[in-house]
Symmetry: C2
Subunit: 216 residues, 2 copies
DNA sequence: GTCTATACTCTGATAGAC
DNA sequence: GTCTATCAGAGTATAGAC
């Protein structure tokens, strides 16, 4: 059904990787791609192995030859996702120019929504369900990172280099505004006309918005 | 499980309402409330009648005495929701002061996220799934409304009464920023600490944001 | 109106032939 | 590695007693 897309940034070095043949790797990737399509639209419980197998062009038992069970597939997808999900925020550089840095962060997030809308929806689905599977990650990884960057934003504001705004809401606003174009793409498409690229015009708008918001 | 909450604005006059006894109405409302809880977290396919029945404190057959099937419950919830969902935007008044009107619209949307987070998540789930059940509504009701209000915003911008910004992205930004506090409440709670109200500080932040964005 | 029992389908997962 | 056959359990829905 779905055309193969560039693999979502996979870093080497995750634990427990057994050696796999070329065909193994290839089929696992086909399955993960199909699973991403299904999980990102229907959530974990709403997705079925039948649907994933159909999407992948494999039989259900064959699919379960490559992955132990439904949960493992979903976990692997989330692991791949989270590995990359925080990179844009991590790159916010204390040594850079504040407004340039924040603007660049916003652009990186917007680019993720453009390149990886399904990953964004997978994440959105997980949060809507109360984040049962990634709660540990959010508490252990995301929260400290956000706290650190919020401190940085506060410092910048204190120094008069950006306007004095709540740093947490600033970060949330970037998440909300950029991810919206991926998560609510269906709605935007129906409103703007179906041939229309949902992200058309988004970047200039967000640039204007944050330019005006951040000016000291 | 969940405490009964104020009923989401229900307008009278929808079609096909048979006369119902007091106990009928009461139980239907209990079921709808339980169903809202479950559908808004797991989506249509991820929700089960068992879970809804448990949440409602009724047996499954009893639940199906009040509603023909799973689909009917979901449809009734969406119908109630959509009935009210567009009101904040409808109220955007051409005769009012542009900045005041847009700010008031933002506040109404934020208030909906505060008062009806589950309804917001129900809507988000439906859109994530590609809006299969509300596509007709979006095309027939939402789209023309947005087009009309976008025209109004354009007129205001042409008259120099607000900054010249893309009206569609302006509307999307209000949706994204306000609904985010309901849809991603789980994440925000884990980041800001669980005792914390997710919406704390949101209104001043959004006021500052739109004040700066809209100033001509 | 509400319950127990049950029919029937879907879904996740396994066995075993090839 | 891939398939057919199959199972156990969950899930939707109905029958029928009370």
């Amino acid at each position: 059904m779905s055309a193969p897309r560039p693999e979502f940034a996979r870093k080497s070095g995750s634990a427990g990787q057994r050696p796999r043949s070329r065909i193994q790797k290839r089929n696992r990737q086909i399955i993960l791609d199909a699973a991403l399509e299904v999980f990102s639209t229907h959530g974990f419980r709403g997705a079925t192995l039948d649907q994933i197998a159909l999407e992948a062009g494999l039989s259900k038992p064959n699919l379960l030859y490559y992955f132990d069970n439904k949960d493992t597939i979903h976990r692997d997808l989330l692991t791949q996702l989270l590995d990359t999900w925080l990179d844009p925020l991590r790159m916010l550089d204390p040594r850079g120019d504040p407004q340039t840095e924040i603007m660049a962060y916003m652009r990186r997030k917007l680019e993720m929504s453009r390149a990886y809308p399904r990953e964004s929806r997978l994440f959105a689905n997980e949060i809507l369900q109360g984040a049962p599977r990634i709660e540990p990650f959010i508490r252990a990884e995301l929260r400290p990172l956000v706290d650190a960057k919020a401190q940085l934003l506060t410092d910048w504001a204190r120094a008069g280099r950006i306007a004095p705004i709540d740093p947490y809401h600033l970060i949330f606003s970037i998440w909300a505004l950029t991810q919206h174009y991926a998560d609510f793409a269906a709605q935007i498409g129906m409103i703007r006309g179906d041939g229309h690229d949902p992200l058309d015009g988004a970047e200039p708008f967000l640039e204007a918005l944050y330019t005006r918001l951040l000016a000291p």
